[in-house]
């Protein structure tokens, strides 16, 4: 599972971001207050999740990647629970509190069906229609 398996977002791309007053200077705005501290940023939910998964090595489309991707609801409810302790925690900061290995541990605890894996018995015969 590579960091670069995500075809939909490349960390090194920058996507044409430049300094607002100097168009010749490239700038990734991710860590600017304008993006980070905007409470109304509609891209924050899925955007932070996409970046987080990719940086954890789950940006691809394998079974484990997709299983982790399906954890969004759990992550959101975990975030909500965290917010009950500290209303000031943001989605980005909450994700940063998830310790390394969380996804691996979680994946290991899932059954193959939960991970979306095809069992051998299922793959031998494929019925069409």
């Amino acid at each position: 599972m590579s960091y670069w398996d995500n075809p939909f977002w490349r960390p090194d791309n920058g996507y044409g971001g430049t300094n607002p007053t100097n168009p010749n200077q490239r700038q990734d705005w991710y860590n600017t207050p304008a993006v980070r501290d905007d409470p109304d940023n509609e891209s924050a939910l899925m955007g932070e999740w996409e970046r987080f998964l990719t940086e954890q090595g789950f940006g691809g489309s394998g079974n484990r990647d997709m299983a982790m991707r399906n954890m969004l609801n759990r992550a959101r409810s975990g975030f909500d629970a965290a917010q009950l302790s500290n209303p000031g925690v943001t989605w980005r900061k909450y994700l940063n509190t998830l310790e390394g290995g969380w996804a691996q541990n979680l994946a290991a605890s899932l059954t193959p069906q939960q991970r979306g894996a095809f069992l051998p018995g299922q793959t031998r015969t494929i019925r069409w229609g």
Partner: protein
């Protein structure tokens, strides 16, 4: 752009993990800006001593509102400083120098113009997406008759017409836009903004302090005082990155004000609304 860091499955993220949920946001700091030696500064009134002929001019609409423009006087209260109309040929300083002082009200009513001009330095002209994103600061910066402005709050209410010109406000907005667009930049914290709010309202010579002295003394009615404070409360959450948090702050302020009023009608209050907020809000 920072070099991308490659993480392997199971590897801890390079970024140190913060102690979770233990405190209010700690990454924001008003002055200490990581990787940036330039502090976030908004020029307070005390740093400019000259009266500007190109200062603040009340708009026709603001003259009838509770706040006469952004000048620190309140409708019905004689202004300590006679306002001066812009003289022919007057010019503003800095970034504001590109605007005509006589069109102050039009400009302050449409601060998007400033954002677009600022972005056009980077040839962003016509980029509605980015202009729209950055306008969120501009739209709350100057305030209006019913809403306190971010500029007033960040200067602790030092919007004294004797000392602060409109060009100072415009240039401060441009500074803010620049700071907010810097990688690794920091925003004023809720705690810092709250202390500035109390500082502003405690200073009777400031714009915000003047709101609590609407009748020319310390006799603003309870309702007036609460309204004055509440108009700044929503600004506290503008840099939290969390609308739910800012909403919670506002609800807490409403609850605090309600408690004061409940006690007021029973004759139980011994201090002012401001004192009550200082002791009981957040």
């Amino acid at each position: 752009m920072a070099e991308a860091v490659r993480y392997k499955p199971g590897q801890a993220r390079k970024k140190p993990i913060r102690k979770p949920y233990s405190s209010a946001p700690s990454y924001v700091d008003f002055k200490d800006r990581q990787g940036d030696t330039e502090n976030f500064t908004v020029k307070p009134a005390s740093t400019t001593a000259t009266t500007r002929a190109t200062g603040n001019y009340p708009s026709a609409s603001s003259a009838s509102g509770p706040r006469a423009s952004s000048t620190g006087s309140v409708a019905g209260t004689p202004s300590a400083t006679a306002r001066t109309e812009p003289a022919e040929g007057d010019k503003w300083d800095g970034f504001a120098g590109r605007y005509v002082p006589g069109e102050r009200d039009l400009l302050f009513g449409n601060p998007d113009i400033i954002v677009r001009d600022w972005l056009s330095q980077g040839k962003y002209k016509g980029n509605d997406q980015m202009a729209g994103d950055m306008s969120r600061y501009a739209n709350i910066f100057f305030g209006d008759d019913s809403h306190g402005g971010l500029y007033e709050l960040l200067t602790g209410g030092s919007l004294n017409p004797k000392a602060i010109g409109d060009d100072d406000q415009i240039n401060a907005l441009v500074d803010l836009l620049g700071q907010q667009s810097k990688v690794g930049g920091r925003s004023p914290s809720v705690e810092k903004m709250l202390s500035l709010l109390f500082e502003g309202f405690s200073n009777k010579d400031s714009t915000m302090g003047g709101l609590l002295n609407a009748q020319g003394g310390d006799d603003a009615t309870t309702g007036q005082a609460i309204n004055a404070i509440m108009q700044y409360i929503p600004l506290l959450g503008e840099f939290t990155g969390n609308r739910r948090y800012s909403d919670a702050i506002y609800r807490q302020a409403q609850s605090t004000a309600q408690d004061y009023m409940d006690r007021q009608v029973k004759g139980e209050n011994k201090g002012s609304v401001l004192d009550w907020f200082k002791q009981n809000f957040m």
